[in-house]
Each structure stands twice: as structure tokens, then as C-alpha cells.
């Protein structure tokens, strides 16, 4: 009976999943974009609504109208100003753009609203009604009902109206839509506006049930992707059914409590197990049906940000070492620890350069690898193992997880892989890192102070060791780029067929890359643990993952210098410290999100790459004659780019 009761109570959560999934499907059908910011949109609209209603004391209807208008304007603006411009950009750029919106909205919420979790008064009656002999608050039934009604409405619009038919045509190809006489821009704008309004409804109706919580609402996107995937991003009806079902199952799973049982009950008892379920659904669905996401006509074969051979492979490390040492021995402790966080951030970003920059596999799980390293560090260091042993061991265990996380990359690519790795990171966050039983400490565990050959390192000593480790790793990554490995990596990321023809075992190669990159991230997480003297799970959340990939992308994810930039921007790093001294640390997320939106449009290859090409041009201009000329046999074989190589 209790199971049934909990399942029915889950109708509220399920209704919100369903509404958000309807929005995701609508946007995907209209423009082919996987909108990772769907939960964040629900979140910001909920904050706007409750600020209007409870803060400015507007009527519910008035606040609802204004919040809906806000959602429409946000959707139109984001589509027309950002996504439309990126329609021919690489897949990575389009994913990054929606992640940028997520970060921006998250940052705005922190800045503008009181983000203490609270439970606002419901917008609809919440009196209990009797259902199958169980008392269920009415608001949950209404939320589920709204989802069902809107799904029916969307299906009708999609089947019966000219606009609906045009959207159906456009999911096949952009040309298909122009046949119907409606412009793709109009359809795109419409689907984004509708998608965002659906998110707003979900956010406003769910908050009184589940609480108004900026992070939790933003993270709704993971279970919502599960529902949308089950619906294959096409069927509204299935999306709603899946959303409701997931919500009910998740709610019923809360009944499974932490009873002392056999060791294997650990798997399904403990914190976050019910939340992890939808993420698991995403991963399994993706792996077993590889192309669950129907390919869309408009899909472009993505060019990835450039990854030029590194320039200053000798001077770079020397300058970094000198500058780093000068910094370490001249600053106050608060700046010193920010410096070490930056170094650890560089390490984690280097791992992203390896797997995303070099091989083109979009991984949003790098911080989860780091977290694994951090957790191991807490475990091993408190068991008395020395620093120099703990570091590589933490890396190795993270590498094992990386190998596991790399498996899906053998079957899925691009946005699908981003989704799978995001789900994996989500599971780590909600069910592993915060599970106190693993380390015995509620997600906070002391890390013993690092010592080298029996000598305690202290702040300065540890900073120097970290500096050396990061510089060595950076140099190795730079060396990798110009090695056989690097050439093969770029070959694989650009053209898998030609790479296979070259005799490259693509599967093994991808797995090796994931493993290596997770090792680097794991060591980074271990350093973070030593720096803070504690493993704190909130340093290894999805938001950190997104932050790292955002910063690395802005810096130039194909280049070591891009990782350096990412480290400077890491949360708690030097840039944060700078903002803090100005009393502006609350602006960090907004700045990151905004800068990312600009960077995606202005410097699609990253800032480091822009600098690189500027230098390149200067270099070209100053160098005398072209280096190589064709042998003069009377034929002009050097005919410049004009009839250039056809690219499929």
C-alpha cells in the first residue's frame, strides 16, 4: 500500500518531468538541438514567478502571465541571437551554447534571488483528495493532468495544423519545411518559445511540491532527458507517459531505506539511489540502442576547435615554472591556495583537452573522474599511505572509471555521448560522492597533510610540488599532440573511416584516450583533496564539470594553453579570488556563462586559438618567400586553394 501511495505522490514530480520532456521534444523537432538548459529555464521562470507573486504581491494570474511572457522572450532571444547563428557550427559549439545558458541562468538566479531553498505556497489547491483509498494532494494530480492535456494538445497541433505539419517536415530536412511555405526561422522561434513556456509551467508547479531550489531544478534535465529518449525525441504521448512513470518509480524507490542487509544492498540503498535511476536509464538506453536519437536532415559533420601543434614546448614550461615559483613565494596564503586550486583546475582541464580536444569525444564527466580521485585520496591518505603513492593510485582508480565511461563512446557520438557522460557524472554526484558509507563521513573526509619523504610539505611546499606536477603533465600533453598518438587522435576525431583505413583500431584508441584522460583528472582531484585537506563532494558536481568544459572551451579546448586559461577560471581559482577581493564573487557564474555565449560565437576555436592564428599571420607576413615551391617543370601544380579538395 505504501508503495502505491508513494508512487501516486510521485505524480507531481512525474508531471514536471513530462512537461519538461515535452519541451525538449518540441525544441528537438523544431531545430535539432538537445537543450541542456531545459531544467535551468524551469528554474529561472519559477524564481521570476514567485518573486512576482510573493515579493511584489501580484495576483497569481498576473504573475503567471508575466512569467510566461518572460519564458517566451527568453526562448526567442536565445534562439534568434544564439542558436540560429550556430546552425552550421560544430556540434560541440551547439552543445556548449545550451550549457552556457544553463550556467548563465544559474548565475543569474544566485545573483538576483534569495536562493535559500524554500517551499512556496502552491498555485493550485493542494487539498488532499481520495484516490484508490489513498489521500493525494490535489496539486500533484493537477500537474500530471496539465502534462497529459498539453501532450494531447501538442499532438493535435502537430497532426492537424499547418505549423505542426511544417515542424514535422522540418525534422526530416530544412528543405522539407520550406515546401510548406513557412520559414525555418519562424518554426525554430516558435518551438523554442513553446519549449520554454512548457519548462516555466513545470518549474512553477513543481516548486511548491519539491521546493524552490536553484540547483535541483536545473538538474531536472537529466531525468527529463531519460523521458525524452524513451520517446525517441518524437512522440509527445510517450514522453508524457515516460515522464510520469519515471516520477512515480523514483518516488516509490524512496521507500527502499537504508536497512542493514547484505553488502550488495548497498547498491540500491542509500542517498540518491532513486535519483540515479533515470540517469541509469539514459545510459542503458543509449548504449543498447546506439542511435536512439533519430538523425536529423540538417546535421552537419562537425568541425572541432582547432588543435594546432604546440609552439613553445621548451620555453612554455620554463616560463610557467619561473612565473609559478615567483607567484608562490610572493603571495599571501589566500592567494596561494587559489593558485593551487587553479593548478588542479589546469590538470582537470588538461584531461578535457586529451579526450575532447584531441579525440573529439565530448565528455562532461571529467570532474566526476576528479571526484573519484579525490575520494580515493581521502581513503588512502587516512590509511597512512604516502602522498607520492596516493597520487598515482587515485589516478589509476579514476582511470578504471574512465575506461568504463569510455565504453559508450564506442557506440554513441556527439551530443548523445555528452548526454551519457553527463548522466554518469550525475550518478557519481547524487549516489556515490555523497554516500557517507563509502568513507564514513557524509561526503566530507579529511585528507592527511601531504608529506614528501617524511617531511610535511606545508602550503608553499605543496604548491611547488603541484606546480611541477602540472607543468610536467602539460608538457607531456603537448608532446603527445605532436607524437604518433596526437596525429592518430586528430585523424580519429576528424574522419573515422580514413583513420580505420590507416590501420588505427578506433575502439581501442578511444578507450585508451578515456582511460588516460581520467587518470589525469583523477590526479587533479587528488591534488584538490590535498589542497583543501578534505574531500568535499560539492566540489565535484555536474556544475563543476560544466564549468571546466566551459572554461576549457573558451580558452581553446584543443590546446594546452586553453587548459591554462580554464585553470585560471576554475571556481575557487585565481579568477574567483580576484573577484572575491573586489567583493564580486557572486558574479562568477554569470561571467562564465556570458563569456561562453560570446566565445561560442566570436571565437569558436577558443581564445588561445585566436591568439595562435594572429601570431601565425604575423609570422607569415614577416617570413620571406614561401617555404616550398613545386619543381618547375612547366606545370602550375601549386595552383592555390581555388579548386580546393572536396570535403564530404
Amino acid at each position: 500500500m505504501a508503495v502505491l501511495q508513494f508512487a501516486l505522490l510521485g505524480l507531481g514530480l512525474g508531471g514536471a518531468y513530462a512537461l519538461l520532456a515535452l519541451g525538449l521534444v518540441t525544441i528537438y523537432r523544431g531545430t535539432g538541438v538537445l537543450n541542456f538548459s531545459q531544467g535551468a529555464v524551469a528554474m529561472i521562470c519559477a524564481y521570476v514567478f514567485f518573486a512576482l507573486r510573493d515579493g511584489l504581491r501580484l495576483s497569481t494570474a498576473g504573475a503567471a502571465l508575466l512569467a510566461a511572457a518572460f519564458a517566451v522572450v527568453l526562448g526567442l532571444a536565445f534562439y534568434l541571437l544564439v542558436m540560429r547563428q550556430l546552425r552550421n557550427s560544430p556540434v560541440l559549439a551547439r552543445i556548449i551554447a545550451t550549457l552556457a545558458l544553463l550556467l548563465l541562468l544559474q548565475g543569474l538566479a544566485m545573483l538576483l534571488f534569495d536562493v535559500q531553498t524554500r517551499t512556496p505556497v502552491s498555485v493550485v489547491p493542494a487539498t488532499p483528495v481520495d484516490l484508490l483509498g489513498i489521500a493525494i494532494p490535489m496539486d500533484r494530480l493537477i500537474l500530471a493532468g496539465v502534462a497529459v492535456v498539453l501532450a494531447v494538445a501538442l499532438s493535435l497541433v502537430s497532426r492537424r495544423t499547418r505549423i505542426g505539419l511544417a515542424v514535422r517536415a522540418i525534422s526530416d530536412s530544412e528543405k522539407g519545411a520550406s515546401l510548406s511555405g513557412l520559414s525555418p526561422v519562424l518554426i525554430g522561434a516558435l518551438t523554442w518559445a513553446v519549449g520554454f513556456v512548457l519548462a516555466a509551467v513545470a518549474g512553477v508547479m513543481l516548486s511548491p511540491i519539491a521546493g524552490l531550489d536553484a540547483k535541483a531544478l536545473t538538474l531536472l534535465v537529466v531525468p527529463v532527458f531519460a523521458a525524452a529518449l524513451i520517446a525517441r525525441f518524437t512522440s509527445f504521448g510517450v514522453a508524457v507517459a515516460a515522464g510520469l512513470g519515471l516520477g512515480m518509480v523514483e518516488s516509490a524507490l524512496q521507500l527502499v531505506t537504508d536497512a542493514e542487509g547484505a553488502w550488495y544492498t548497498w547498491l540500491w540503498t542509500g542517498p540518491g539511489r532513486s535519483q540515479a535511476l533515470p540517469a541509469l536509464v539514459v545510459i542503458i538506453a543509449m548504449i543498447f540502442s546506439g542511435r536512439l536519437l533519430p538523425a536529423r536532415g540538417e546535421v552537419v559533420r562537425g568541425r572541432l576547435p582547432i588543435s594546432p601543434p604546440p609552439r613553445y614546448r621548451v620555453a612554455g614550461p620554463i616560463i610557467a615554472l619561473a612565473a609559478g615559483l615567483a607567484f608562490i613565494f610572493s603571495v599571501r596564503p589566500s592567494w596561494l591556495s587559489a593558485g593551487v586550486v587553479t593548478l588542479a583546475g589546469v590538470m582537470i582541464a588538461l584531461s578535457a583537452v586529451l579526450v575532447t580536444g584531441f579525440i573529439g569525444q565530448i565528455s562532461l564527466a571529467q570532474v566526476a573522474f576528479a571526484g573519484t580521485g579525490g575520494m580515493l585520496t581521502a581513503l588512502l591518505s587516512s590509511a597512512g599511505l604516502p602522498f607520492l603513492l596516493v597520487l598515482p593510485l587515485s589516478g589509476l582508480v579514476a582511470a578504471l572509471l574512465g575506461l568504463l565511461a569510455g565504453l559508450p563512446s564506442l557506440r554513441v557520438r556527439g551530443p548523445s555521448l555528452a548526454l551519457v557522460t553527463l548522466s554518469a557524472a550525475y550518478i557519481c554526484q547524487v549516489a556515490v560522492f555523497s554516500d557517507g558509507r563509502l568513507l564514513g563521513g557524509q561526503g566530507y573526509n579529511r585528507v592527511a597533510s601531504p608529506a614528501l619523504f617524511g617531511l610535511e610539505l606545508g602550503g608553499t611546499g605543496f604548491a611547488v610540488v603541484t606546480l611541477v606536477i602540472v607543468i610536467v603533465t602539460g608538457s607531456l600533453v603537448a608532446a603527445l599532440r605532436v607524437s604518433t598518438f596526437g596525429r592518430r587522435a586528430l585523424a580519429v576525431r576528424e574522419n573515422e573511416a580514413a583513420a580505420a583505413a590507416a590501420g588505427i583500431d578506433i575502439k581501442r584508441f578511444k578507450l585508451a584516450a578515456f582511460t588516460l584522460s581520467a587518470f589525469v583528472a583523477g590526479v587533479g582531484g587528488s591534488l584538490l583533496g590535498y589542497q583543501a585537506n578534505v574531500f568535499a563532494f560539492e566540489r565535484f558536481t555536474i556544475f563543476e564539470s560544466l564549468h571546466v568544459i566551459a572554461m576549457a572551451y573558451i580558452g581553446g579546448i584543443g590546446m594546452v594553453s586553453g587548459a591554462l586559461f580554464a585553470g585560471l577560471g576554475a571556481s575557487g581559482g585565481l579568477f574567483s579570488q580576484l573577484l572575491a577581493t573586489w567583493g564580486a564573487d557572486s558574479y562568477q557564474l554569470v561571467i562564465a556563462g556570458g563569456a561562453l555565449l560570446l566565445a561560442v560565437q566570436l571565437h569558436p576555436d577558443g581564445m588561445a586559438a585566436t591568439l595562435h592564428t594572429i601570431r601565425e599571420r604575423r609570422g607569415r607576413r614577416s617570413s620571406p618567400a614561401p617555404a616550398a615551391a613545386p619543381p618547375d617543370d612547366g606545370k602550375d601544380r601549386s595552383a592555390p586553394a581555388e579548386p580546393s579538395v572536396p570535403v564530404k
Partner: protein
């Protein structure tokens, strides 16, 4: 024993049978031509041999069945191809493109491969800086860098003028005659094929309709109807 033996190789794409029970053998140290009108299944044949298209039937390399091998393993065993649309790595220089493929015990496989195709001067350029004709030669050089036992060329002479095509044919002939490799050449340039090949296979609608030395194929009425009369 033949270097490559194909035994009733069949490739289906949905309802289309792109290659229909084709069998032939390529002897080591020879230059085999493979011709046929557009859509005849020539590229698909190369895909099947290199492991990039799923096929039924048997494929043997020096007597050993390789039909179940993945593409990369066939490449390592010495079956190396070029692509009709070149598929050069645009983000790598020509030298790096060749280094990606380079294998074998030669002292400098990259330099000697570029030398063989007379494109040594392109080494430090990016593919986008090259003319189509040059890029085609580079793509052949890239395959040569892998020291192939069997080199499969998919329309390498497309876009070359008559003179260039003749010089290119001479280069291929030299590769085979000096024992560097064995070649399966797909091209629409009938003169090139007739002049340099030892033997020719003719496909039409996925089926083999004729085979033999150039003189015999040229005289074959079936070929004239399907191919030479059709497009040439």
C-alpha cells in the same frame, strides 16, 4: 596462390544489391583494373575488400580468409585504399597525413611515398591549400606510405587532364613493375585503364559482366553496351 581472392562477394544496402556475387583474383605484382558505369558497385567492392562494408562471401589475402577482420586489421595486413572523395585529414599537414598511415621498414616511408608521386613539395602544406589534382596524388602517396601489399585506388585520376593522366599511369606501372606493390585500380578514364592494366574486371549493376586483358575487354560486346557505349 593469388594475393587477393574474392569468392561470391555480395553487399546489400537495404533493398539494393550493390555488389552481387562477384568473384575474381588479383595476382601479386600485377595491376588489375575495375571499371563500370556510375553506381555499378566499384566503390562498394573496395569497401567490402577493406572491411568498410558488411558483405557475404569470402575474401582471402594470400590464402587466408580475412572476411571477418575489422577494417583496421586488414589495413595493417597490407590492404590499403584511397577514397573517391580523398578524405585527407584537413587538420593535419600533408606530412602528418602520411605519418598517420606510415608503416613498414623503409627508412623514411613518408619521404619516399611523396617522392614516388612527385609531390614532395607539398609536405608542409595543409590539404586545403592544394589543387584537386595535387590532393589526389597526395592521397595516393598517403596510402603508399603504409607500404601496402595491395593498393586499392578509387578514381585517382579523376580531374586529371590527358597528359597528367598518362604520367600518372606511368607512375602506377612503375610501382607495380618495380615490385613495390600490387594495385586494384578503379577509374572512369578508359584510356588510362586500357593502357596500364594487366587485367580488367567489368561491373554493371553490381554484377561482373566481363573480365580479361584490355584487348579482350575492349572487344567485348557486353561491355560496349553497358559501359563504353553508355558513358564514354
Amino acid at each position: 596462390m593469388s594475393l587477393l581472392e574474392l569468392d561470391r562477394v555480395t553487399v546489400r544496402y537495404g533493398g539494393v544489391t550493390a555488389v552481387d556475387s562477384v568473384g575474381f583474383a588479383v595476382e601479386s605484382g600485377t595491376l588489375m583494373g575495375l571499371i563500370g558505369p556510375n553506381g555499378a558497385g566499384k566503390t562498394t567492392m573496395i569497401d567490402a575488400i577493406t572491411g568498410m562494408a558488411r558483405c557475404s562471401g569470402d575474401i582471402r589475402l594470400a590464402g587466408e580468409s580475412i572476411a571477418s577482420w575489422p577494417a583496421y586489421r586488414r589495413s595493417r595486413a597490407g590492404i590499403v585504399r584511397t577514397f573517391q572523395s580523398l578524405e585527407l585529414f584537413m587538420e593535419l599537414t600533408v606530412r602528418e597525413n602520411l605519418q598517420t598511415y606510415a608503416r613498414g621498414r623503409q627508412a623514411d616511408p613518408v619521404a619516399s611515398a611523396l617522392e614516388r608521386m612527385d609531390v614532395a613539395w607539398t609536405a608542409d602544406r595543409y590539404p586545403a591549400e592544394l589543387s584537386t589534382g595535387t590532393a589526389r596524388l597526395v592521397s595516393v602517396a598517403r596510402a603508399l606510405a603504409a607500404a601496402p601489399r595491395l593498393l586499392l585506388l578509387d578514381e585517382p585520376a579523376a580531374g586529371l587532364d590527358a597528359g597528367e593522366s598518362r604520367r600518372f599511369g606511368a607512375k602506377l606501372r612503375r610501382l607495380v613493375d618495380s615490385g613495390v606493390t600490387t594495385i586494384l585500380l578503379v577509374d572512369h578514364d578508359v584510356d588510362l585503364i586500357m593502357n596500364v592494366c594487366d587485367d580488367i574486371q567489368v561491373l554493371d549493376f553490381g554484377k561482373k559482366i566481363a573480365s580479361g586483358p584490355p584487348s579482350a575487354v575492349r572487344a567485348d560486346p557486353e561491355v560496349a553496351r553497358a559501359y563504353l557505349g553508355g558513358t564514354a
